[in-house]
């Protein structure tokens, strides 16, 4: 285990425990205000924990358990941070920016620059070394930011939405670069983009309201969402309830029929996911043969690629533009949403 983390910050309602294995890249996801920044701050040494402890390799980052108040200063932690903005030091050349880490930890100017050149080459930015940060594009700056963070040789690399401030054109290239450099590296990646999580991370931590709500291999978490937030990221409808004979009974009493992947005991809390494209919308009540149906108020109607997404209180449906025109629905209207008995997939929560 590389990182062993357990911390509570009362003022922010933050209480989280998890571990990271050596070489593992973990995506941290959650709605705004979930506590992702607090987590990074605790690890980088910018936020103090009321309780808990964190160890990185054989180093104690902080220990606020009973009788102990150990706290390692940020610069001794071996934790490097790459934020949305590259935050390159404007008064230093690109080369000296990258050399900053090694230089600060005792290397001579020559040694530090040699290391910096190596890392600039690694991120395909060797030719930028002599430039000032102000003369770089956003993508170039973030590339240099990656090199600078890695040149510090951190035990743990923190990435705080490193792609979110980039042009759409620049993001794919940097994503490829990150995939390459994160391959064998212990890293925490805060992101809102499921694609980043799928491409870059081995595992996903989902935080909501300062608590861990899901933790598992990326594909597994997205295939079996446990919360509406993750289901939303995965683009799935999620219905939660308890296991019934042929499906689940949802919290509001709606009986949903769906096949289960595995045996789940009656009464156990369970969930069913169904793709919006498999949900149909109509003004007339569907027959029994249609499977599961629910009468909903429409929240919004918006184009989404080739189809139109109609979102209701519980389910969202993707319909063709022609079908949407025939239905002529606007937010506030009501309609029937239905999906067949074999369209969903059930699993235990």
């Amino acid at each position: 285990m590389t990182l062993d983390f357990k911390a509570r910050v009362r003022a922010r309602g933050f209480d989280l425990t998890f571990g990271v294995k050596t070489g593992e890249t973990i995506a941290v996801m959650g709605p705004n205000g979930a506590g992702k920044s607090t987590l990074l701050g605790l690890l980088a040494g910018l936020v103090h924990a009321d309780q808990g402890h964190a160890r990185l390799d054989d180093r104690t980052l902080f220990d606020a358990t009973a009788g102990s108040r150990a706290w390692t200063q940020p610069h001794r932690r071996g934790v490097a941070l790459l934020a949305q903005e590259a935050l390159l030091f404007p008064h230093l050349s690109v080369l000296d920016n990258v050399a900053f880490g090694p230089r600060s930890t005792g290397a001579s100017r020559q040694e530090a620059r040699a290391v910096a050149r190596q890392w600039l080459t690694e991120v395909d930015a060797a030719e930028l070394g002599g430039r000032r940060p102000a003369a770089l594009s956003g993508g170039q700056a973030q590339r240099v930011g990656v090199a600078r963070a890695l040149a510090a040789d951190p035990s743990l690399l923190l990435l705080d939405e490193p792609l979110s401030a980039l042009d759409i054109g620049a993001a794919p290239a940097l994503r490829r670069l990150l995939k390459r450099v994160l391959a064998d590296r212990t890293a925490l990646l805060v992101t809102h983009d499921p694609l980043d999580a799928l491409v870059l991370a081995d595992r996903v931590l989902v935080i909501e309201g300062g608590r861990l709500v899901d933790d598992g291999p990326t594909r597994e978490v997205f295939a079996h969402p446990r919360t509406a937030f993750v289901a939303g990221l995965a683009g799935m409808n999620l219905v939660t309830g308890v296991r019934s004979a042929d499906g689940i009974e949802a919290t509001d009493g709606w009986k949903v029929v769906a096949p289960f992947e595995a045996e789940v005991a009656r009464g156990a809390s369970s969930a069913i996911v169904v793709k919006p494209s498999l949900v149909r919308v109509s003004h007339l009540k569907p027959g029994r043969a249609e499977g599961n149906a629910v009468w909903q108020t429409i929240l919004d109607v918006e184009p989404r690629g080739d189809s139109i997404r109609i979102r209701g209180d519980m389910l969202a449906a993707d319909v063709t533009p022609a079908a949407a025109a025939d239905l002529d629905l606007a937010p506030g209207d009501t309609a029937w949403f239905a999906f067949s008995a074999d369209a969903g997939v059930g699993y235990a929560l």
Binding site: Q73, H75, L92, S104, P133, L136
Partner: protein
């Protein structure tokens, strides 16, 4: 683009400013500038050079430059840490401490002189300490430097503290996670980023030190070559030889204009964080 800019430069236009505001602005500006014009008009140009190169004038000018430079150095040495602590650290009574440190700005200089007298004077708070060390500050050049530092240091603190707050702590946080110890961060990140503000703050402090009069008169006395700085010399000459007083005033005005111009030119350079990585 360049052409456009030149166009807007040469043709003044009000750009939405009400005419009466512009008129009041003109009157106000005249109010500030006319006294300077008046000084220039009163200068005895025939004897100008002899007047400002007399023994007492040169002694006063050199003393003023020397003490102001020393005071500026003291302002930097102590003002930078004060600004950093005020802007970055949090401690109980911080707001009060902030107001108190800036007090010399609004205090009448004479009051500052009296306060210094009762601190560093022969019967002051620290008198026993200084007597023990065998240091006698009264009537020495050191007293002048102390008085100047006292009145000038708020300028440095103000300009620097504002810059530190505006710059934020993000670069410092990044530098720390890259393994830089706090002192390294200060030396290699904080201070270079603050350099423009530091330079203009130091220049303003220098200008204020150069003009210091009341506190020096009260606290340090007036002796040619030791404590009689240029403003004190001007005040003394006004009694007997107004021509010299006016000539020296013009010298002081010239130095002040030069110094303020320097500070402004410096301040117009975009400081620290550039737009490119925002």
């Amino acid at each position: 683009m360049d052409q456009n800019r030149r166009m807007t430069r040469t043709r003044a236009h009000l750009a939405g400013v009400p005419r009466w505001v512009a008129v009041l602005a003109g009157v106000g500006a005249a109010f500030v500038l006319l006294p300077l014009v008046a000084i220039v008009s009163r200068v005895n140009w025939v004897d100008f050079v002899p007047l400002i190169t007399s023994d007492s004038s040169v002694a006063a000018l050199l003393l003023s430059l020397r003490t102001s430079l020393a005071a500026t150095a003291l302002c930097v040495v102590f003002g930078v840490p004060i600004a950093i602590v005020l802007a970055r650290a949090t401690f109980p009574g911080q707001r009060i401490a902030r107001s108190l440190v800036l007090l010399p700005l609004v205090l009448p200089p004479v009051v500052g002189g009296i306060a210094l007298l009762y601190t560093f004077g022969r019967r002051g708070l620290l008198s026993s300490t200084f007597q023990f060390l065998g240091i006698d500050i009264a009537f020495s050049t050191t007293a002048v430097i102390l008085a100047q530092t006292f009145v000038a240091i708020p300028f440095l603190i103000l300009s620097l503290e504002g810059a530190i707050r505006t710059a934020g702590a993000r670069y410092e946080a990044v530098a720390a996670t890259l393994g830089a110890a706090p002192t390294t961060v200060l030396r290699r990140v904080t201070l270079p980023l603050l350099l423009p503000a530091l330079v203009s703050g130091a220049i303003l402090s220098f200008a204020r030190a150069l003009g210091e009069f009341g506190a020096t008169l009260t606290f340090a006395g007036s002796l040619q070559g030791t404590t009689r700085t240029l403003p004190l010399e001007i005040y003394l000459q006004l009694e007997t030889d107004p021509d010299t007083a006016v000539a020296l005033s013009l010298v002081l005005v010239a130095v002040a204009v030069f110094v303020v111009g320097l500070a402004y030119r410096n301040g117009s350079v975009p400081s620290g964080p550039s737009g490119a990585d925002r």
